[in-house]
């Protein structure tokens, strides 16, 4: 159970190597082995979405995945969303629309919404609700998160 494995992950554009036990969750690997504590763990059973990261561009629950199964893949965490010019449109929209309070669920929402807008740059209200319906937030009541998704779509469109 405790035999260790060498894995190589491309995290936020950087090649990272880690030696992990087979049972190490990807979320724990990111947080503990790689020191990327921006990815949060809220339930460890894949319901709350706090631990959402992008695996090869698609949102996944890092608490439901073993680190070894991510070997060789590209991962984007909240630490990798900002570009050289500062925060991404999604991050800026969240600030502008007051779409976060305690901030604990926020990294998961940011990753989810980043992927959502990549796939659908101008989502309808229904599509936004559907798109974020796998992430729990206990603070905001979601209203400002929905607003932020639309605002992020606008910002992205303006800047592309």
């Amino acid at each position: 159970m405790n035999s260790e494995h060498e894995i190589t992950l491309n995290v936020n554009g950087t090649t990272r190597r880690a030696r992990v036990p087979g049972r190490r969750l990807l979320s724990d690997c990111l947080r503990q082995d790689l020191g990327l504590t921006g990815t949060h763990v809220g339930c460890e059973h894949g319901v709350c979405g706090c631990c959402t990261v992008l695996l090869d561009g698609r949102p996944v629950r890092s608490c439901l995945m073993l680190a070894v199964t991510a070997d060789g893949h590209e991962i984007t965490t909240v630490e990798g969303l900002a570009g050289p010019d500062g925060m991404s449109p999604v991050q800026r929209a969240f600030a502008e629309c007051h779409a976060l309070q305690c901030g604990f669920c926020t990294p998961g929402f940011l990753c989810t919404v980043t992927a959502l807008l990549e796939e659908n740059p101008a989502p309808t209200d229904e599509e936004v609700l559907e798109g974020i319906s796998g992430n729990l937030c206990r603070c905001t009541g979601y209203q400002n998160i929905v607003k932020a998704v639309h605002r992020a779509a606008e910002l992205k469109a303006e800047e592309s």
């Binding site: 709350c48 976060l100 992430n135 603070c139």
Partner: protein, 782 residues
């Protein structure tokens, strides 16, 4: 003042950090710390026969295993009963680790420390505890039968019993007033348990450096956790520091303290001389933290032809779970805040707060108010239905009028002080909410209903909070206050207050909360009190600093302090911007120096001519530096209020319930930051929707919580929460310098009442329980 930021929707200053993964929550700290994990009781009620740890001793990375027997006398004492009350005649608290008997599933029995959490949990799994199961007590009605006891020495399982009576002005008791009333109604209401359920659970990280202990805890009160740890570990207070770093939501559960882990983790860290961290997992949060809400209410009301309440008698069975560490604050708040915006003829409220073999009950956002409001608002609806009147008309007939403030409800509030409302305008608020929801234009239709709920919330309870403000020679303003933050945006709103009071750009203001190294005196963040308490304390501290700055600047400018103002961080003569000195220089002048460690400091040294040779460099009664500290301690709470209304549709076949429109009118006095207040309301309403339609703690008859995961405990996602329309009414509080009232809990308080009101309207069936699920509604249809 050009820098007037009070009242503006200033964007949050904490956000860039939290949006880029730079937040620092407890579990983000201490990457090299040892990990603690706990063996917890699988039984609701059992005697511990034996604990066999031998199989766990071979686990790689095991550092230590502790049971109750290993704890020194002081650490092993029962945890404190934080809020004693004369009516709590049989208060009981848990031991940090179970001693002899466990009284709920999840009670900690063994603590394991290992090199990482995986290994600590491996060891936990190998520890064998032999239990002799005892008969569990589940549900308040089972409890008051007294057939089985949660605590052997608490007869009938009743921890507290309290009766409060307010006779009518004619001297009638509630019973007499009801008997004499033209109309009476009698009914029963059932309110389920729910819980705060922040997305970050609790967590504690402690490090001992040989003489000093530093503890990081995901808490709503770092100052009191510090004192509790110092007391339990017999350490001088000055050798213990407690810091609440970024906290991932609280909603009440983290004002409870000290949790067993808050004592045990620091104790073990000191004993082992190693850093130790414990991070609660979700299942632990369900079974080992705290719940709230559960009550059964029996109501009798007498009223006249206009719907005016002549007498109200409420008997409450309150489920406080296995222990009472937080006293009986929740049922006291239910009892008092039940009155809402109404003046009743006579009122009698009686509660029994009873033990059950379930997780303890401590305040969750709203703290007893949702139950009280549910009771009063269901009563108003029933009266209206009985009389065939519009529900808002009956409410209006009972309102306290704007010219009746301050209004004395003649009861004792949760702070032990008189329940006197300071200000409000309930008729205007009703007019606003009716307009916002479209009450008068609502077209009745099958399976479509409209509902309303009103509440008054005592906010900003004492005893006090403090603020410290320091302007340094770089012109920066450093604000600190002892209470903590869990997402309320304190770094922004307190900076808005300081920037406005001092006339400085907000970019120069930084705010620290919940760090005992910076401010040691505080109560905590709960009861919608942070803005009222620390906001006013910081304003008062700023005024002291401003006065000193003007005095020093007046000296330097050879002007009268009364002729000076501060704009953009510069003190200047009113109408003469050329006669000016920046606050950075004032800070230099305020601190006479010997050593010129930088250019600014050189201006304040002894040969610089900054001070007169005829006077001591620091005058008698003065202090060096440009800083101030002050406290705000109110005579009593300030009373915010609100009214919500909703339109719901119910599916004629499946009984699915959909909230199609939701309106909130809210009065928290003067708004510091309307964007943040609205965010608080949105979040509160969402939690209220959870409580009204989805959330329950499903205990089986064995005392097992069968839905202790996010798979089964249904918290609302974005798809379940309606869009919330908000409007604000501002009746400033006359009790505090800023005229503000609390806003944190408001959103959640009336939601269950509003939804029940609307479903009842849609279905024509009495809705007397919260939450109400589609299958329950289906069954009620018969």
């Amino acid at each position: 003042m050009t820098t007037r930021l009070f009242g503006e929707p200033v964007q949050r200053r904490e956000d860039p950090r939290l949006l880029t993964g730079q937040g620092r929550y407890v579990d983000d700290l201490g990457s090299d710390a040892l990990a603690a994990a706990f063996v917890r009781s699988p039984h609701a009620h059992a005697r511990i026969r034996d604990i066999d740890v031998s199989a766990a001793l071979d686990v790689d990375g095991l550092i230590a295993i502790y049971t109750y027997e290993d704890l020194p006398e002081r650490v092993g004492r029962p945890l404190p009963l934080l809020i004693p009350h004369p009516a709590l005649t049989h208060g009981r608290t848990a031991y940090p680790l179970a001693k002899d008997v466990v009284r709920h599933v999840g009670e900690p029995v063994v603590m394991v420390v290992a090199t990482d959490r995986y290994l600590a949990e491996d060891a936990c799994a190998l520890i064998e505890v032999e239990y002799e199961p005892l008969k569990p007590v589940v549900g308040v009605e089972d409890a008051v039968q007294g057939g089985h006891l949660v605590h052997e020495d608490v007869p009938g399982n009743v921890g507290a019993h309290l009766v409060q009576e307010v006779p009518s002005t004619a001297g009638l008791s509630a019973g007499e007033a009801i008997d004499a009333a033209p109309h009476t109604l009698t009914f029963r209401l059932d309110i389920e348990r729910s819980a705060s359920m922040p997305l970050e659970g609790r967590g504690v990280y402690a490090r001992w450096d040989g003489s000093d202990l530093r503890v990081y805890s995901s808490t709503q009160t770092s100052t009191s956790v510090r004192m509790a740890i110092a007391a339990a570990l017999d350490l001088p207070l000055t050798n213990v520091e407690v810091i609440a770093p970024d906290v991932g939501g609280g909603f009440g559960v983290k004002i409870m303290h000290p949790w067993p882990e808050e004592i045990l983790v620091p104790w073990a860290a000191r004993l082992l001389g190693r850093e130790i961290k414990w991070t609660e997992d979700r299942r632990e949060h369900f079974i080992a933290s705290a719940h709230e809400r559960g009550q059964v209410q029996h109501v009798r009301v007498g009223f006249d032809d206009d719907g005016r309440v002549l007498g109200l008698d409420v008997r409450i069975l309150h489920d406080h779970g296995a222990y009472t560490p937080y006293g009986i604050i929740v049922p006291i708040i239910t009892s008092t805040q039940l009155l809402g915006p109404y003046k009743l003829g006579a009122y009698r409220v009686e509660f029994s707060s009873v033990y059950t073999n379930t997780v303890q009950v401590t305040p969750y956002r709203g703290a007893g108010r949702p139950q009280g409001v549910f009771c009063m608002e269901r009563t108003m609806d029933k009266i209206a239905r009985y009389l065939g009147k519009d529900r808002t008309e009956v409410r209006a007939a009972n309102f306290i009028q704007p010219d009746e403030f301050p209004y004395d409800q003649r009861m004792t509030f949760q702070d032990g002080r008189p329940l006197i409302y300071d200000s409000g305008d309930y008729p205007e608020m009703l007019r606003m909410v009716k307009e916002l929801i479209g009450w008068d234009d609502f077209e009745p239709a099958p399976n479509r209903g409209i509902g309303i709920g009103c509440y008054v919330e005592g906010t900003g309870v004492g005893p006090y909070e403090g603020g410290h403000v320091q302007i340094t020679s770089d012109g920066r303003v450093h604000v600190s206050t002892g209470l903590t933050s869990q997402g309320q945006g304190h770094q922004t709103v307190f900076a808005q207050i300081a920037a406005t009071e001092l006339g400085v750009p907000i970019e120069r203001v930084s705010v620290v909360t919940g760090d005992t190294r910076r401010f040691g005196y505080a109560v905590g963040t709960f009861a919608s009190r942070a803005a009222v308490m620390s906001g006013n304390a910081i304003a008062l501290a700023c005024r002291k600093v401003r006065e000193k700055a003007l005095r020093i600047a007046a000296d330097a400018l050879e002007a009268n302090p009364d002729d000076l103002e501060i704009t953009d961080g510069v003190v200047h003569v009113v109408g003469d911007p050329s006669s000016a000195v920046p606050l950075s220089t004032v800070a230099v002048l305020a601190n006479p120096l010997r050593y010129a460690f930088d250019d600014e400091a050189a201006k304040a040294t002894q040969f610089s001519g900054a001070s007169s040779p005829d006077r001591p460099p620091v005058a008698e009664g003065d202090e060096p530096g440009l800083e101030g500290r002050d406290y705000y301690s109110p005579i009593r709470s300030t009373f915010a209020s609100g009214m919500h209304a909703a339109i719901v549709e119910t599916d004629p076949v499946t009984a699915e319930i959909k909230v199609v429109k939701y309106a909130v009118v809210h009065d928290c006095g003067k708004l510091i930051n309307p964007m943040i207040v609205e965010g608080q309301i949105h979040g509160g309403v969402a939690q209220g929707i959870g409580g009204a339609l989805y959330e329950r703690m499903a205990y089986d008859t064995h005392g097992q919580l069968v839905n202790a995961s996010f798979m089964d405990f249904l918290m609302p996602y974005a798809t379940e929460v309606p869009h919330v329309e908000t409007a604000h009414l501002e009746t400033p509080s006359p009790l505090n310098p800023l005229g503000i009232k609390g806003a944190g809990e408001a959103g959640v308080i009336p939601v269950s009442a509003v939804i029940a009101s609307a479903i009842e309207d849609a279905e024509g069936i009495d809705i007397d329980r919260m939450p109400i699920s589609p299958s329950e509604l289906f069954d009620l249809r018969g």
